[in-house]
Symmetry: D3
Subunit: 242 residues, 6 copies
């Protein structure tokens, strides 16, 4: 099994960190490759960022299929281009939103998402509505840290712990989903601190969930439905990717 991880931003500075995370999570026997974009934004924090990231994401997914990958992970909680990618390929494609949300749904009744910034919340609200998860999500909170500043790990962990506690106390949350795939490698410590504080609940890492879900679906021999994501018609398309 070969899985391509597409980091949907320009620059390669995150790639090594993603590779380390993949190495620590991958099931033995599964081969991974990590790649970022040639065109797009430095981070995805708005519908606008997403819009300009998607074309090159689609190029990269198509290439992954041509190179024989069985699955592709579009490594962003906003699921950028996921539906379009499923239209133009026949491989398993997941973003960072569906997998942690679905796994969280199996671990408790009331889910809270803790994401980076207030401006991404309407985008997440839209994903929740489209996924039919409105009855399960009790809050979408944020730590008020831009993606490119998530590197201050201690600050991030403190803020995630604080917002998780608020989600539990104010919103009745029973499961926490980390709402940005850039929040890598911190879920376990947040989970431990919540447990110490008396809240023994799961904290779901979005990227880890995406990786495990992709492996699971490929191993089950399943692929996205071609009645939901129908093949696209041939037609004139003028852009740098076709």
């Amino acid at each position: 099994m070969k899985i391509k991880v597409i980091v949907p931003i320009i620059g390669t500075s995150f790639n090594d960190e993603v590779r380390r995370e993949v190495a620590s999570l991958a099931t033995p026997g599964v081969e991974y490759d990590v790649e970022s974009l040639d065109y797009g934004p430095a981070s995805i924090e708005s519908e606008y960022d997403e819009a300009i990231a998607v074309p090159d994401i689609l190029n990269k997914v198509r290439k992954a299929e041509e190179e024989g990958f069985d699955g592709a992970i579009l490594d962003c909680f906003g699921d950028p281009g996921v539906r379009a990618a499923r239209e133009i390929t026949n491989i398993v494609v997941f973003g960072g939103f569906e997998p942690p949300m679905l796994i969280a749904s199996g671990l408790g009744d009331k889910i809270a998402i803790v994401t980076v910034l207030p401006e991404v919340i309407p985008m997440i609200d839209g994903l929740i509505a489209k996924a039919g998860l409105k009855d399960r999500v009790v809050a979408v909170r944020h730590v008020d840290i831009p993606v490119l500043e998530l590197t201050d790990i201690q600050k991030l962990k403190d803020a995630l712990f604080e917002q998780s506690v608020e989600a539990i106390k104010q919103n009745g949350a029973q499961v926490i989903v980390l709402g940005c795939t850039g929040m890598m490698g911190v879920a376990n410590e947040v989970m431990d601190r919540l447990k110490e504080a008396g809240y023994d609940i799961p904290v779901v890492d979005a990227f880890a969930a995406a990786l495990r879900m992709t492996e699971a679906v490929v191993s089950l021999g399943l692929r996205p439905s071609k009645l939901t994501y129908m093949p696209v018609r041939m037609k004139d398309r003028k852009w740098w990717g076709e």
Copy 2:
């Protein structure tokens, strides 16, 4: 009041027809301009088409604001780039989905959409879910005609009449929305034929509704909420549009 109509496809062949339609619909005193894309697909019939159309749509909307337009209509039922366009500008922006759906909501309880092709239905289902309109829409049907073949007006009218009757009989529809902005200038005749057949119900033309809604909102001095569509942050973005 100045309103820009952005036809979100490459080529200028549709522009004259759109200009004629605008001329017949525009409220006296409102100035319109029609423009299509430099980069994008020949028609939008998939999430993939939408994805590659959006970047240049956003360029065109930004330019419209710079040129002093008060509003922009993104002339496609899929509302391509509408949310991102509202983030990066301060003018009124509507696509072809919200306006006819909202007007239809005020004309009857149960709405049916009749669109072009089966492959766009999941995209429309997503818009319905995000808009919270699931309880109002009883069916999304299609005439099975690609956008570029909508020029056969008689075939289109016949198919729309037929699907509208099915929507009424099979799905209990009480209002019809034409689910493609390319279905211009046919709503009235379909409405008349339905009335003759015993069904005195409104048939809403998506483009006409978008035009009227944009005029109405501009004239009321309202603009999209900056708490839903927050301004985007400065950051490195590498693409042909910035």
Copy 3:
């Protein structure tokens, strides 16, 4: 185009103010007439008030159709008699609820209504439920001022500003709808004060929205669906209006 505005209360004291508002809002070329009730309550602030206002509202709407009006606005946020009026006439009929709510739906995701008194909230909740807008409305708040005391404009503006800020902070509102058509001519100032306070969001005036929506629908050649609002049967009816 001729539109009748029916002020659904007895007495004519409000009519001049409504006429001034109409004059400032009307699209050139549209003719308006304003009329209040002979029988009914001095204001509508309960389901009971609404019940005794509706019969004469229906008389007035029927008369408007006979006099050649193209549309009628039932000038109350409770949409009193709107559905019955659509049954007994063939003209466009809107109340004060649907138009601002539908326009607000196109300007942001999360809507708050600020109305007059606590006792009208259950009635508004019912309208929200029937309209299928439950997923879009995050709060119905009130300024605790009876309709007949809305004349203290400064007090009203202050209270609306205050409740709007609470709706944003406590309930996550992104768009404000003024929930009484008697709150005329104050939306813009409330909107400006919110913007100064850092909240750049639309504040929708219910009456202005009703007027603009009625003009739009008449100009589009649409009317309420006769499959939702079916013609009434002939039968014995004993009351002062038939």
Copy 4:
């Protein structure tokens, strides 16, 4: 315990039949009185009929309270004036919709309503939406018989049986509610015929349910919430009833 049954139509021709039904259903020790309207329609089959019936219904309910009745049944499936009546009195008030629907909810998962005419279905849809029962009601069907022709009992029973079978087969109904209080005394036979046909399911008579629910609530010492149905304010009201 004294309960007033208000037959919300003019004329007294139905009153004796209602009295006979009451006599056969009343719990020993409960005193009933039956009264029809002085002003209103001959039958309620539209929002318009309802609108002109409600004022005199409210007069009659107020009088019932003054005369010492503990409860009032507004004998129509449309729940005409129920909410307003609860505002202006302190007694138990039920219409013909809520009681059978609530009892049906306790007898099976999927409910179908079989009512008289197509034109009352949108009104019933509104009641369902306001009651939050959308997830429980799988169909609203009709026998196509006007209220005043329900006297042809054999035709009524045949049509109810037929529509109930369709509701079961086409819509998956598991419980039937007779959607007009004028369909008195037929539920049991319809239920027996369904059982013979292999469908052992409850058929709920709306009037019988209303009577039993009113008795139950009065006997429990409960009354409608004054936070939902708040007392009305004193103000000028000009109509024949005040």
Copy 5:
């Protein structure tokens, strides 16, 4: 009419209190019998407690049918075994959840439940979801008193009053349902105290509601739908009850 009350816990200590309550509530002419379990938990405060109570509950219901009872009340707010009991018998079966919730639905728009302990809230949330009552329930609160300590009546009344006030103020509740059938005989006093505090709203006693609803349904000649609760097949079953 003969109704069996099954107290779904081991031990007989509660039975006399239940008998006294039944005696004070029963409609003249209705015969009651009260019985507790031979196997099960001392109280039901978790899904686990419920799971081990249900088998003997089912034995007792089956026996009640054999002994000629017309109805059975499974006296717990969790509705333990209600659906299974309806499958294996042809008598009327109610638990303590559906009846008070349905009656409360007829008394006001927004319902709050006040139950015993936090750990039963997810179970109640599940019942609400299955009943389709999500739009009607605004809060599920708890007094933090285990079932076996409900005997301290004064403490219970104080806590119920306090939580009811919070439900009204914080959650907008308009009707209170006591969320444990062990909270017997206190609803009226809580209702009186709320009225004194300015909140004239119904407080529904779950057991009293169950008793009245069961009497009502039996007297109407109705039984649970055999299309929802289908008869069980013969097969090998190995347990102490069959």
Copy 6:
């Protein structure tokens, strides 16, 4: 990692088949054990069957935790005892319902379940409602084959294919979930036949999904939330399992 599969029926006749299936599916390095019940029904096809199966299921899960298993699969589509098992243990517990439904949610928008018999559909409807999946499930169909006759594999495959085609054509299904864990080893062939018939969509095997989801969650270091499934209190419980 050690996972216990609990086949929730009496008799050991299915165990070898389950062991073969486990052997073909298990990820290398994961140790499995299969065990059936000492007390319970021969198959689960009703709420009654489920009720009498659950106590011994709970015994077996508790034992699995004591024996050092990391996860337990309760091998039935009805999720029998899943919530109670999560209360009394600290290991990962999944039934056969949540895992395939969650995975299916990630593969297409509209899901159909094809189960064994009509009488289990209300139970499945309840699970759907509790999981908040109502907006995603378009149909629950059945092959009309009892669990113990699923051994006629050819008949099963034919019936599943037929019902899947109906679900696609009649209900718009885009993903199929096999709604009984006894339908082992047939999903792939049904999927292939659908593809040949022109429907290239995933068919999800419930048991395979449960196995893969359990492995994934254990490997991620997550466990069910102790705020949803709170620890049970010590109290007197009289049954053969404690």
